[in-house]
Symmetry: C2
Subunit: 312 residues, 2 copies
């Protein structure tokens, strides 16, 4: 017998996906930011769900508005990473019977405010008792048929970009982040982007998802990584750059652009958004290899973003 802890989250998901079997033709199942399903007309449906659990994604004393914000924000960020448009959501809540109603109402208010700001309508859900507060948000969105931006479209030579700045989200951003919904939709519709993911596990871990799904490699330039003020101000054993590379839950967008369009893309982005967008490297042919160029040295990077179940 093998426990979930011994396997780690990625292997657990791989084995559960094996039980479920291959999705039908034309359907994207497990392994991208959302599932993609055919719908009537000229749209594809996007389905995603995310859990936030007390003690893991927030703490017992986290302000309830921020808990609801984070729960909905994670789902919105998934839609953004597919270039999609949020539409409908259900919220399952698990809570101890001793929970104060006013606290739960504040959690929902935080969820509702962020959802409303991005056109996501919460239309139902379920409630159950349990030892810890949890929210499970299930979202339905859409994208023009065939236009979902997958993790698997990166090609050697593509330039790698990331929005915003990275690292140190534990100082607050992991609860208060603005999901890049408008940016993701624009990126999807612009035609510039070959592959995209949101930075939830950490820059390196999520870039690894892209290179694995795309069967390519990548090299990133250490000096170009947009290190956040939060990463710089946090003290501890990790350098600010290490935080930007490995910390999870920044919920920025990480994506690839064809090399001959990188300049036009950067110009178009600047005209459209104030949010910074930084070129941090390029896709290579060295399948599965992820390297950091830093001070004229080339370092091979392991994926060591956050993995559920496994101790760090």
């Amino acid at each position: 017998m093998t426990t979930l802890r011994e396997l780690g989250e990625r292997e657990v998901i791989r084995r559960l996906a094996r039980v479920l079997g291959e999705p039908p033709e034309g359907v994207v199942g497990i392994g991208d930011d959302t599932a993609v399903i055919p719908m009537d007309g000229d749209r594809d449906g996007l389905l995603t769900s995310d859990a936030v659990v007390e003690g893991i994604h927030f703490l017992p004393d986290t302000e309830p508005l921020r808990i609801g914000h984070k729960a909905v924000g994670r789902v919105l960020s998934d839609f953004a990473a597919m270039g999609g448009v949020p539409a409908w959501a259900l919220v399952d809540v698990v809570a101890p019977a001793s929970t104060e109603m006013e606290r739960l109402e504040s959690v929902y208010l935080g969820a509702q405010r962020l959802a409303g700001a991005h056109g996501l309508r919460i239309v139902g859900g379920d409630t159950a008792g349990g030892p810890l507060l949890e929210l499970h948000v299930f979202g339905v969105g859409w994208v023009a048929a065939g236009k979902a931006v997958r993790r698997s479209g990166a090609r050697p030579g593509d330039r790698i970009f990331v929005t915003g700045s990275l690292g140190g989200s534990l100082a607050g951003k992991h609860l208060d982040f603005e999901p890049r919904v408008a940016e993701g939709r624009w990126l999807g519709e612009s035609g510039f982007v070959t592959a995209m993911i949101d930075v939830s596990d950490g820059l390196i871990a999520d870039l690894r998802h892209i290179i694995e799904e795309s069967h390519v490699g990548a090299e990133i330039l250490g000096e170009t990584i947009p290190v956040s003020d939060a990463a710089r101000s946090l003290t501890g054993r990790d350098s600010a750059l290490a935080r930007a590379l490995h910390d999870g839950e920044d919920f920025e967008l990480l994506f690839c652009v064809m090399p001959d369009q990188a300049g036009a893309f950067a110009d178009a982005w600047r005209k459209r958004f104030k949010l910074p967008c930084t070129e941090i490297g390029r896709v290579t042919e060295e399948r599965g290899r992820l390297t950091l160029l830093q001070c004229e040295r080339r370092l091979d990077l392991d994926a060591d973003g956050y993995e559920h179940f496994r101790s760090r």
Copy 2:
């Protein structure tokens, strides 16, 4: 400050629904078996979610195949109660890191088998660590536009029917029930049915949902209630009839048929299904009043089906 326990599940849901506000025109939100949303073309979308939590919906020693079966079965039963067709699902799992992978794979196998038997495709989900095993199943289905069978359509004079037999589900049916998907779809498409719900909280509690949403009353005939063998064989303080009236999780379909069509309906049902379907009473004009006719006495019934959060 007020706790969830003090309020009980129905009031908790009512207050959370108030935070979320009214759904947009043409959308069914909280308060039916599924949400109903407009889609492209000639279909409406159905969205539902259900949680099963260790210690509440199953026990630590429940066979894992049955846990997965129950989790998916609840969602399928919701679609059935709307006259809908299941299509897509996501499964969020919460599990202790010490869970054996083989156990979790069996849970998923139970989920996958029942889903596959009813055309529901599981295409994704999320995983998280937590103290107890939980599954949250989110389902997407569809129904012909405007044809979802609501709880709110019952009219005075309608005859009340229920499928199968009731009570004693704790003896095993709550884990092994067959969701009435084909029956629910046929009922919806037949045009006979004015209102429908699945029996999850208990016959009386769920009939109360129908009369409240429909602004009517109902009377049921004690001698006609299809009491299950399980209800008769269980011993304890409750009579078999009381179990049939109040036990939850039978996942049968409870519905109303216009009086002048009741005979034609019963004939059509018998031609189509072997599953028994029993007329148990009628809808009245006495708004909010729910009575049981038994041995020439008329008893007023309170809703006392299962309520989460509240101690019984």
